[in-house]
Amino acid sequence: MKILIKETFKDDYISREAGEELRKSILAAINSKEHIVLDFQDLVIASTSFFDESIAKLVNENIRPDDFKEFVTIKDINRNDQKVLDQVTKYRGFNLQELKHPWRICPLGEHWVKEFPRKTSSGTTSVEGHCRKNPKNKDVISADELLHIANTHFKNLEMLPSNNDLKFPKGNDYNLIIAGWCQYWNETLKPETKIHPNIVKALIATESGFDPEPKVSKGHKAIGIMQLMPETLKYLSPSGKELKNLFLYVDSEEAQNPIVNISAGVRWLFRKYELTKLKLKRSPTWEEVLLDYKGVLTDESQKAKEIRDHVVKYMRALQ
């Protein structure tokens, strides 16, 4: 069902009466599990009352934001009307916005830029840290904000990896960072099964032995502690066409830092989860995702078998 607001409410699209009428139509659609499109084409509503009565007050009808998102599509809404809608729904506790993670500094659709110096004719001044709008309002997290989050919030974490150093000198140096990013991405991406920090720890053991600058052969492009490929960083960015949302702005230099590297690596594991699920045609275990990340999930070669055994050995040691 589609409601063209301009035609349906041509004499009055600002009042509570008009809003109530629209709310009844939305309610009927949701209750009968029918999809409804609210088309605001060529119209500026500019009324808190209309949006409050039509949409925000659905909360009083025991409609949950998830029900609304499942059955209602809002089309061609004016950007200022969207702000009013966001404000009134937030006020009623009928939050249609995806909530930003509490560790994030900036609102959804913006990313953090840390304080930086700016040269002027009279010397150098500092530009204070600030949030900057992302293109297309998608959610993007920058390396600056990843560092801020780790330095501010990575304590009292809910799930730590095993304290086994797997016989590497720095085997336990990154436990908090691993746990922090697993918690952040679990809470942000809400997977069917949460990723356990031991998965990431085992992966790091196989990739770099916990060395942020592992010795590699000439021409080797992989970066840092999780040995991310430059292409992977591009896939995670808004220009990568791999993700739909919740991107990372991280360049190769920034990815050298273990804090940034592990965050990007865990984000990539979550994307790998979706790809492995498509490959297996069922929900994979995180161990299977880890093997797919290593490229050995279905490979029957001797080399692949050796890598699998290696991973399994670390996983067992961490249990």
Binding site: D11, I14, R16, E17, S49, V88
Partner: protein
């Protein structure tokens, strides 16, 4: 009874016009002296419409003296003051020039103001300012229709120097009268203050409206001024200075007037 109108009829210096409206409930004849009047601002047109309508409704004969031709052309009804055909029809109040308009609305929500704003001012004012103006208008119009139960309300808009002036005026049930049915307060100023707080509403049907509070929150960064008058109370809020003045009116206003002034600097095209 004789009253001399001020030099400028607008959202400032309202004592004489409010006194005029108050005395015409008591006397059968009121002489308005226009001698000092030099300018009618957009708000002034709505006020003149109210003076004329109220005089007829209260059976008070208005006698105008020293009304010059320059001022007469500033309001459609001033041209034909001496015709006694009962209450002028809403469209007889209608005024529009290059910088302003004034509409008398009757019998519910009237979106003519939206049509004029989006057609005639879209190339002059930026999208955000036009949106903020509509947001305020929509809230005020609904308040006039729902709360005051007044048959008529008066909508004005105009560009004056570097400001945009707009507002909605009605002569229905006053806000303090409505508020005292539900809340307690010592003075009418307190009632007006209370009505601007979050979560306060006098609405019976579709209760729990967000009220003017949310609208003011959304537009306060526009700067400018807000004048809110009803019964014996008057509140003037200056957004950019974070200043509020609260005054008791010298004469009672049997209605509710809400008038806004926004700076247009930085909001023109």
């Amino acid at each position: 009874m004789h009253l001399t109108l001020p030099q400028k009829i607008g959202s400032e210096r309202l004592d004489t016009v409010i006194e005029s409206l108050s005395v015409m409930r008591e006397v059968s004849e009121l002489n308005l002296n226009w001698e000092r009047v030099e300018k009618i601002e957009p708000a002034g047109r709505a006020i003149i419409s109210i003076l004329i309508d109220q005089a007829i409704e209260k059976n008070c004969l208005l006698i105008h003296s020293n009304l010059n031709s320059n001022i007469k052309k500033d309001h459609p009804l001033l041209k034909n003051l001496f015709k006694k055909d009962g209450l002028p029809k809403p469209d007889q109040h209608f005024y529009k020039d290059n910088n302003s308009f004034h509409i008398c609305c009757e019998g519910g929500i009237n979106l003519l103001y939206k049509e004029i704003l989006t057609r005639d001012y879209i190339n002059i004012l930026d999208e955000d300012l036009l949106f903020s103006i509509q947001l305020v208008f929509n809230e005020l119009i609904q308040n006039a229709v729902d709360h005051s139960t007044s048959e008529r309300y008066y909508v004005y808009f105009g560009l004056v120097d570097d400001e945009v002036h707009f507002g909605v005026l009605d002569m229905g049930v006053t806000l303090p009268s409505k508020m005292e049915q539900k809340f307690n307060a010592k003075t009418d100023i307190d009632f007006l203050e209370m009505s601007l707080k979050e979560g306060i509403t006098t609405r019976r049907l579709r209760s729990g409206g967000l009220g003017l509070y949310h609208t003011l929150e959304m537009i306060k960064e526009m700067g400018g001024k807000f004048v809110f008058i009803s019964r014996d109370g008057q509140i003037r809020r200056y957004f950019s200075q974070r200043k509020i003045s609260r005054l008791k009116l010298k004469s009672r206003l049997h209605g509710t007037w809400v008038m806004f002034t926004f700076k247009i600097k930085g909001h023109t095209k």
